[in-house]
C-alpha cells in the first residue's frame, strides 16, 4: 500500500485500481452501484450470499433457475471466459490455503524453479474460505485454493472454478488411475485431488489402557471429562450413525433423531467439541479424541506414543483438491503451481510434512516409510472398502443436521 493512509484515499485507490482492471468495465461498475437501493436490483447483492450454495452432486447445474438471481454475471460455467493461454507465465501467484498444509520448502522451491513470486494467504476454516472464494463468484481475487472435494460440484455449477488446461499440467499423469474419475469432478476437469484422509480417534495409552477398536470408547463413562469430539457437525453425526449402523449421509428425520439421541447421551461425558484436537491431546487435556488421520500424525511429533484407530464399524474418508479460480489474475502461473505440486518429489515432501497421503503414484517411492507403511495413515484395501465419503447435502437436508446440531450444542 502506498503512503497515502487516509481511508478515503485508499478506497479511491482501490476503486481506480479495480476500474483499471479488465474484469470490470466502468459501465458494469455503474450498473452495480445504481443497483443499490432498488429492491429488484438487490438480487446481485443477495446472490453474493451464495456462499450458502450447496448442491448435491446429482443435481444438475441449473443453479440460476431462481428468476431473481438471473442477473448474476457469470454464474454458469459457460459464461465464464476461459483465458486465452499466453505462452509465458505471470510473475506472481496468489495462493489461498490452510496454514502448514504443504512442505516447508514448497513455496520457495516453486519461486526458484519458475521465477514467480508467491503470495500465500491462509484461512482459519473452510467456511471462511468458501465465503471468500464465493464473494464475487470467481475466487475473491485468488489464483489457487484447496477446497474439500464435496464443495467441487457446487463450485463448478456456480462458475467459481476455471476449467484446467491439462497441456500446462503434464504431471497429471502421476495420479493413480483410481483417481482419474472422481464422482465429484469426472475426468478431473476443474480440480485435481490433493490429499486424502480418514476420521477416526486418537488416544493416550498412558491414560487409556488396552487396544481400542470401536467408536463405543467415545461413550465410555470411565473417561468422563477427558473426551473430545471434533467441532464439525457432519463428522460428529457420522460417528453416531456408524454406531447405529446408519448411513452418515442419512437425511431421514427419524434416523437423525436416533443419532441425536445417542449424541445427547455422549455430551455430558465430553470435555469439549474441539477445533484443536492436536493441542488438546498432546497437552493431556483430552485422553481420547475424535481426530483426522493427519492430525494424529502431528500429535505423534510431540507425544510419540499417541494411538489412532479407524474403527471397524465404519469411518469417514475425505479428500481435498487443488483448483484454479475463474477470476484468477495469473491463470498460467496457477496451473504451473498445480503441475509443480504433482511432481513426485514435491508431492512426497508435502505428504511427509503433513502426514496426509496423496493420490500420486510416482511420489510413493519418496514418501517416508513411517507414513506409507503405517496402516493407520495408509490403510489396506479391506479397510478402505468400508470407508464412506460424506456427500454434499441440499439446503433442506443440511438444515435437518444444523437444527439438531445447534439444539445439541445449546
Amino acid at each position: 500500500m502506498s503512503d497515502r493512509t487516509d481511508p478515503a484515499s485508499i478506497v479511491e485507490d482501490e476503486l481506480i485500481r479495480y476500474l483499471a482492471d479488465r474484469r470490470m468495465t466502468r459501465r458494469e461498475m455503474l450498473r452495480r452501484v445504481t443497483a443499490l437501493g432498488a429492491a429488484v436490483a438487490l438480487a446481485p447483492v443477495v446472490a453474493a450470499c451464495n456462499a450458502a450454495a450447496s448442491i448435491a452432486p446429482t443435481v444438475a447445474p441449473a443453479s440460476t433457475a431462481a428468476g431473481s438471481a438471473s442477473s448474476v454475471p457469470s454464474a454458469t460455467p459457460s459464461a465464464t471466459p476461459s483465458p486465452t493461454p499466453v505462452p509465458s507465465p505471470e510473475g506472481e501467484l496468489f495462493v489461498y490455503n490452510w496454514d502448514g498444509y504443504i512442505g516447508e520448502n514448497t513455496v520457495s522451491d516453486f519461486e526458484k524453479a519458475h521465477n514467480i513470486k508467491v503470495k500465500y494467504d491462509k484461512f482459519p476454516d473452510a467456511d471462511t474460505q468458501m465465503t471468500k472464494l464465493r464473494s464475487d463468484s470467481k475466487g475473491g481475487g485468488y489464483d489457487v485454493s484447496y477446497p474439500a472435494s464435496t464443495e467441487i460440484p457446487a463450485l463448478i455449477a456456480d462458475g467459481v472454478l476455471l476449467k484446467l488446461d491439462k497441456s500446462l499440467i503434464p504431471n497429471v499423469s502421476n495420479l493413480r488411475p483410481d483417481w482419474a474419475n472422481p464422482s465429484y469432478d469426472p475426468g478431473n476437469q476443474y480440480s485435481l485431488p490433493n490429499y486424502w484422509w480418514t476420521t477416526g480417534y486418537a488416544w493416550d495409552p498412558a491414560k487409556v489402557p488396552g487396544a481400542l477398536t470401536d467408536w463405543t470408547a467415545l461413550w465410555d463413562a470411565t473417561y468422563k471429562g477427558h473426551m473430545g469430539m471434533l467441532d464439525d457437525q457432519r463428522e460428529v453425526f457420522a460417528v453416531a450413525a456408524f454406531r447405529l449402523g446408519l448411513s452418515p449421509n442419512t437425511t431421514n428425520e427419524a434416523e437423525l433423531d436416533q443419532i441425536v439421541q445417542l449424541l445427547e447421551q455422549q455430551k455430558p461425558l465430553l470435555r469439549k467439541y474441539t477445533d484443536d484436537d492436536i493441542g488438546d491431546v498432546t497437552s493431556g487435556d483430552l485422553w481420547i479424541s475424535h481426530a483426522w488421520s493427519g492430525d494424529w500424525y502431528q500429535m505423534t511429533t510431540d507425544k510419540p506414543k499417541t494411538q489412532y484407530v479407524v474403527p471397524a464399524s465404519g469411518a469417514v474418508r475425505g479428500n481435498d483438491t487443488l483448483v484454479v479460480l475463474s477470476g484468477a489474475p495469473h491463470p498460467i502461473a496457477a496451473q504451473l503451481w498445480l503441475d509443480f505440486n504433482l511432481d513426485a518429489k514435491v508431492s512426497a515432501a508435502n505428504t511427509n510434512y503433513i502426514g496426509y497421503m496423496g493420490p500420486n503414484a510416482a511420489a510413493e517411492q519418496y514418501v517416508d516409510d513411517t507414513i506409507k507403511g503405517d496402516p493407520r495413515l495408509n490403510p489396506p484395501q479391506a479397510v478402505l472398502d468400508k470407508l464412506v465419503e460424506l456427500l454434499f447435502l441440499s439446503p433442506a437436508d443440511l438444515d435437518k443436521y444444523t437444527k439438531r446440531w445447534n439444539a445439541l450444542r445449546a
Binding site: M1, T5, D6, P7, I10, V11, D13, E14, L15, Y18, R23, M24, M29, R32, V33, A35, L36, P44, V45, A47, A48, C49, F94, W98, D99, G100, K119, Y120, D121, K122, F123, P124, T128, T131, K132, S135, D136, G140, G141, Y142, D275, D276, I278, G279, T282, S283, G284, D295, Q298, T301, D302, K303
Partner: protein
C-alpha cells in the same frame, strides 16, 4: 486514608500481576523447543532468527499495524466528536444518534463481517485490502471512543467554555483551549481502546482480508489447527519489549505529565 491506600496498592499489585501473567507465560514459551508449543519440550532461541526470515508473519504484523493506525486516527476523531456532541449539546435526533452509536456494538461480529464483505464485493467489486479492513475497523471502533468520551464530557461544567468566551475567545479558541484539554484523557483512553480492538479483531477482519492483507490475528487463528508456532510468541515478545522500552524512555523524558485532573474553574487553563 493511608491504611486504605495500602490495601488498595496491594490490590493493584495483584490486578497488575493478573494482567501480566499470560504475558510472562507467552514470553517464556517463545523459547520452547516444540514447533507446536502445546507442551514445554526444552529451551531454544531458534525461533527468533527464524521469525526474521518469516516474511508472512512480518507482513501480517505490518498490515495489522497499518490498519490499527488508520483505525485509531479515524475512529478517535469521529468518535470523540460524537461523544462530545452527545454529552454537551441538545439537538433534535440525539436519541437516534445515541442508538446509532450503540448499534455497531450490539451487532454480532459475523453479521458485521459478512455485511461489509457483501457491500464491498458486490457493490464495488473489491476483494479485500488494507483499506477495506481499515474502514471496517474505524466503523466498529467509533462507538467505543464515543462512549468513553461521552462519559468524561457528561456533566462537564458548561460555564468553563462560557467563561473562555467571556474572556474573548472565539468558539474555536474556547474548544481548543478549554474543552479539548479537559476531555483529552478520555480521547487518549478512547484511542487506546480503539487500538486494542483493531489490533485484536478476528471475525470481522477475516471476511475483509484479501490477497496479501492477512492480519496477525487471522494468521494466528489460521495456525491454531497445527499449533501456534513459538515464532508468534516471539513476535509478541518483541512487540512488548519494544513498546516497554519506548514507554520507559518516554516516561523518563517526562512525556506523561498528568493531564488536568480537575474541572474546577480555578484549575482551567486561562485562554
Amino acid at each position: 486514608m493511608d491504611r486504605g491506600n495500602r490495601w488498595l496498592s496491594a490490590f493493584a499489585v495483584v490486578v497488575y500481576a493478573f494482567l501480566f501473567a499470560p504475558i510472562v507465560v507467552l514470553i517464556i514459551f517463545s523459547f520452547n523447543a516444540s514447533r507446536r508449543n502445546f507442551v514445554w519440550l526444552g529451551f531454544t532461541t531458534e525461533w527468533y532468527p527464524r521469525l526474521f526470515a518469516n516474511h508472512d508473519l512480518l507482513d501480517a504484523l505490518g498490515v495489522t499495524l497499518q490498519v490499527a493506525a488508520i483505525a485509531v486516527v479515524g475512529s478517535t476523531i469521529l468518535g470523540s466528536l460524537l461523544g462530545l456532541g452527545l454529552a454537551r449539546l441538545r439537538f433534535r435526533g440525539s436519541g437516534a444518534t445515541e442508538t446509532l452509536i450503540l448499534l455497531p456494538m450490539v451487532t454480532p461480529e459475523i453479521i458485521m463481517g459478512i455485511s461489509l464483505l457483501i457491500f464491498f464485493s458486490q457493490l464495488f467489486g473489491l476483494n479485500g485490502s488494507i483499506g477495506q479492513i481499515a474502514i471496517a475497523h474505524v466503523t466498529f471502533c467509533i462507538s467505543y471512543v464515543a462512549v468513553t468520551v461521552r462519559a468524561r464530557a457528561a456533566g462537564m461544567d458548561p460555564r468553563l467554555e462560557e467563561a473562555a468566551r467571556d474572556l474573548g475567545a472565539d468558539a474555536w479558541g474556547a474548544f481548543w483551549h478549554v474543552t479539548l484539554p479537559l476531555i483529552a484523557p478520555a480521547v487518549a483512553a478512547g484511542a487506546m481502546l480503539a487500538f486494542a480492538l483493531s489490533f485484536d479483531d478476528l471475525v470481522i477482519t477475516s471476511f475483509n482480508t484479501g490477497v496479501g492483507s492477512t492480519t496477525l490475528p487471522v494468521a494466528i487463528y489460521s495456525a491454531i489447527k497445527l499449533g501456534v508456532s513459538p515464532q508468534i510468541n516471539a513476535i509478541s515478545t518483541i512487540i512488548v519489549a519494544v513498546v516497554s522500552i519506548a514507554l520507559f524512555i518516554a516516561w523518563r523524558l517526562g512525556a506523561f505529565r498528568p493531564a488536568p485532573a480537575s474541572l474546577a474553574i480555578e484549575d482551567a487553563p486561562a485562554s
